[in-house]
Symmetry: C2
C-alpha cells in the first residue's frame, strides 16, 4: 500500500473528523499502525510528531497517543518585514525617519528590560507608508550597550527593523498584540482622530541575556492581522 507520512497524516485526520477516533480516544501504537499502513515505524512516527506539533494529538511515553480532548490548535503568524508586507499588496512602500536621539535609558524601559541603569539607548521614531498613506508608526529603542554600531547608522534611508534583522542576530523575542487608544500625537502621525482604536504590537528582542531592542508598532486604522490554521 506504500503510504507516505503525509498520507498517514491525512488518514488520521480523516478518522478524527469521522469520529472513528473521537476526542480523548487512545489510538493504536506505532508498531500496530505501521503494520496497518504497510510502512516503517519511523514513517508513522513522523506523521504523529507533526500532528502533535499541530496540536491535534497528545503523546506520552508508555501511555500512548491520544486525540486531544480539547484540540487547541496552534496558529502560526509569519512576522513579515513591513516593506514586504506592503509591497505584497501591490502598494508602494515609503519609509521616513521622524526623529532620532541618543538618550539615557528611560526608567520605564530599564525596568522592563535588562539594560544597565546608566546605559544609553538610541530612540527612533519612523513612519511606514503604503502608497503614501500612513501604515505604521514605529517607536523603537535600541540598546547601544549591546549594539554600539547602531549609533553610526543614520536610519534615514533604511528602517531600523530592516537594519536590525539583517545585521543583528537574535535568540529570542517577546511579542504582544493589543488594542490601544490613539493619543493626539499618534493620531496625528497615522492621520486619525484622537481616541481612535489602534492595533498595537510590542516587541522585545534578546540575544542570549542581553536586551537588544524594544519596539512599539502602531498600525493605522483598518489593519488586520490574519492567518489560517
Amino acid at each position: 500500500m506504500r503510504s507516505s507520512y503525509q498520507d498517514i497524516k491525512a488518514d488520521v485526520l480523516n478518522r478524527i473528523r469521522q469520529n472513528i477516533w473521537p476526542p480523548g480516544a487512545n489510538l493504536p501504537g506505532e508498531i500496530e499502525l505501521a503494520e496497518e499502513f504497510g510502512c516503517a515505524r519511523a514513517t508513522v512516527n513522523r506523521a504523529m510528531r507533526e500532528l502533535v506539533d499541530e496540536g491535534i494529538l497528545e503523546r506520552k511515553r508508555k501511555a500512548g497517543t491520544r486525540v486531544k480532548s480539547f484540540p487547541t490548535r496552534k496558529a502560526r503568524f509569519t512576522i513579515p518585514l513591513i516593506r514586504e508586507e506592503i509591497e505584497s499588496t501591490g502598494a508602494a512602500y515609503r519609509y521616513a525617519l521622524v526623529d532620532r536621539e541618543v538618550i539615557a535609558v528611560p526608567g520605564w524601559l530599564s525596568a522592563q528590560v535588562k539594560i544597565p541603569r546608566n546605559g544609553q539607548v538610541l530612540h527612533l521614531r519612523c513612519m511606514h507608508f503604503a502608497s503614501n498613506k500612513p501604515y505604521q508608526l514605529e517607536d523603537r529603542w535600541i540598546n547601544l550597550t549591546a549594539i554600539p554600531k547602531a549609533e553610526k547608522q543614520d536610519f534615514e534611508v533604511i528602517g531600523p527593523n530592516e537594519w536590525l534583522v539583517r545585521e543583528v542576530p537574535f535568540s529570542e523575542a517577546d511579542l504582544s498584540f493589543s488594542a490601544t487608544s490613539a493619543t493626539q500625537e499618534i493620531a496625528d502621525f497615522l492621520d486619525q482622530k484622537e481616541g481612535d482604536a489602534v492595533f498595537t504590537a510590542e516587541r522585545t528582542t534578546w540575544l542570549d541575556e542581553d536586551n537588544i531592542t524594544h519596539a512599539r508598532l502602531y498600525f493605522s486604522q483598518g489593519y488586520k492581522m490574519t492567518t489560517k490554521l
Copy 2:
C-alpha cells in the same frame, strides 16, 4: 562526538549568531555536516528541517541550504479555550448566555461565507467573565445546515466554543485580529465606554467545503495576546 539533532540545531544557531554563517550564506551539505558532527545524515536532516520550520534557514534541492537573508521568524499562538485561559491566571471563570435566536442567514454573513441563501443559522451572544469582571463578548453564528444538532443545544451552561471544539471537528479556520471601536452596545457588555479600543478576534471555521461557524470575539480593555519566538 555523538551529537543529537538538538545539539546540531543549537550549534547551527550559534554559528549564525556568531556570523560564521552570515545571512544569505550557503552552508555545507548534509553529508559533510554529518561527518563533522559525527552522526547520520538523517539526524542532520531533522535538525535542518526544524530550522527551516522556524524560519531560520531556506533549503532547495540541488541548490543546498542557506541562512535566510531576512529571517522572518514564525510566531506561534496557541488559541486556548477561554475557560482555560482565564483559569490559568487564577481567576474564576463564569459563562453566561446573553441571547439565542434561530434566524435566516443575514446577507453580510452569506456573502462572507458559503451558506445556502435560504439556510438558517443559530445566532448566540455570550459573555465570559474572569472573577466576575467582563472578559470577552462572544458573537457567534452557527450554520444549522451543516450542524443541525446545534439547534438542540441550549448553550445555557456550556459555551458554544467549548461545545463546538468538543463535538464538531474542523479542517480549517481563518483567524484575524484587529482593533475596533466599541459601539454603545459592546461597551455596555464589557463595562467600558463607547468608542474605547477593543481587541477583536474574528474566526471562521470550515469542515472541508462547509462553513461551520463564524465568531467575533470582543475582549475587554487591557487584553494582550502574547507569545515568544
